[in-house]
């Protein structure tokens, strides 16, 4: 029997190949499906770009100063997320909630900056059905992929707020450890996907 089985919050692993937490496995399976979705979107973006003669230079149209800051912000929020889990593991629910709140605030700022970026680009002439720089698919793919990611961040912020409540309602810190770790998986995935989106859509 796994050592983790001594605590009721973590299920016993059935074999050495199965994880201690089925919830964690479920989240990983969900994230794999989501990753395939994002991978397909980015691969399609690459194919559209490769077959287009008038694809605008993303660096010149989109700019990278703001998005570089947004990347840094998401990395910071990933650190606050693991810190929340670390404090919960040490039995400090208050610090855990504080770091969860920091993470949610980081995510909310990210979404706000993305809304600002979108409105600025739309004002400059980038639309979902066309733009002044070249291929109309440039705008379509930009809004589709960054919008899909932005929805994930928004969902993540709501998820984090729910986790703050979840931790608050459970006096035993270990009773919510598994759930917070699973929420962390989702949040880090959102960060990981942004690393790819930033590279493929802004830098390349």
């Amino acid at each position: 029997m796994s050592q983790a089985a001594v605590h009721s919050a973590v299920e016993p692993a059935e074999t050495p190949l199965t994880p201690e937490s089925w919830g964690k496995l479920g989240m990983w399976v969900f994230l794999v499906g989501d990753a395939i979705g994002f991978g397909t979107l980015l691969a399609s973006y690459g194919a559209m770009r490769a077959t287009s003669a008038d694809w605008p230079s993303p660096y010149e149209v989109l700019g990278i100063n703001l998005t570089a800051f947004m990347t840094f912000l998401l990395i910071c929020s990933s650190v606050t997320m693991v810190k929340a889990l670390e404090w919960l593991g040490r039995g400090d629910r208050i610090r855990c909630r504080t770091f969860l709140a920091y993470t949610a605030i980081g995510g909310a700022i990210f979404v706000g900056l993305q809304a600002y970026e979108w409105s600025k680009l739309i004002h400059e002439g980038l639309h979902i059905n066309g733009n002044i720089w070249g291929s109309s698919l440039f705008g379509t793919s930009f809004f589709l992929i960054t919008g899909f990611h932005g929805l994930h961040v928004t969902g993540g912020v709501l998820y984090l707020l729910a986790m703050i409540r979840y931790v608050t309602n459970r006096p035993d810190p270990m009773a919510s450890y598994n759930a917070v770790e699973i929420a962390g998986l989702y949040w880090h995935f959102v960060d990981l996907v942004w690393i790819m989106v930033f590279t493929f859509m802004y830098l390349l």
Binding site: V6, V32, I36, A53, F72, I75, V79, G184
Partner: protein, 111 residues
């Protein structure tokens, strides 16, 4: 692996953070280097995969999980790579010059 209380080992997260921040700065510097587009592209993809691996291994604790989780996590990368190779022929098949040289309106159509 999980400990007796169900918690993970916690690596030095600040070290991972500084690595991620440094790699992001390197990414931003790479695009200004006087290198070919292909070289810059390869460097950027390599750096992005490195950052993604750091997030998955340490922040998502994949390094401390059973091997099954690692295999599940790698699946989308394999599928995405296959998809890229499937789509590559489309990029090579298109003659970009045909887009830039538009025939004059009065010119007769060639068959």
């Amino acid at each position: 692996m999980a400990t007796a209380t169900g918690t993970h080992k916690h690596p030095n997260y600040m070290m991972i953070f500084w690595w991620l921040a440094a790699l992001t700065v390197v990414e931003l510097a790479v695009i200004f280097l006087p290198l070919s587009k292909l070289t810059i592209g390869v460097l950027l993809v390599g750096l992005a995969l490195g950052k993604a691996a750091l997030v998955a291994m340490y922040f998502m604790h994949l390094r401390f999980e059973v091997r099954t989780m690692g295999l599940i996590a790698v699946t989308p990368l394999v599928i995405a790579t296959l998809l890229v190779f499937l789509l590559l022929p489309d990029g090579f098949a298109v003659d970009h010059k045909s887009f830039t040289k538009k025939p004059a309106a009065s010119a007769p159509a060639k068959h």
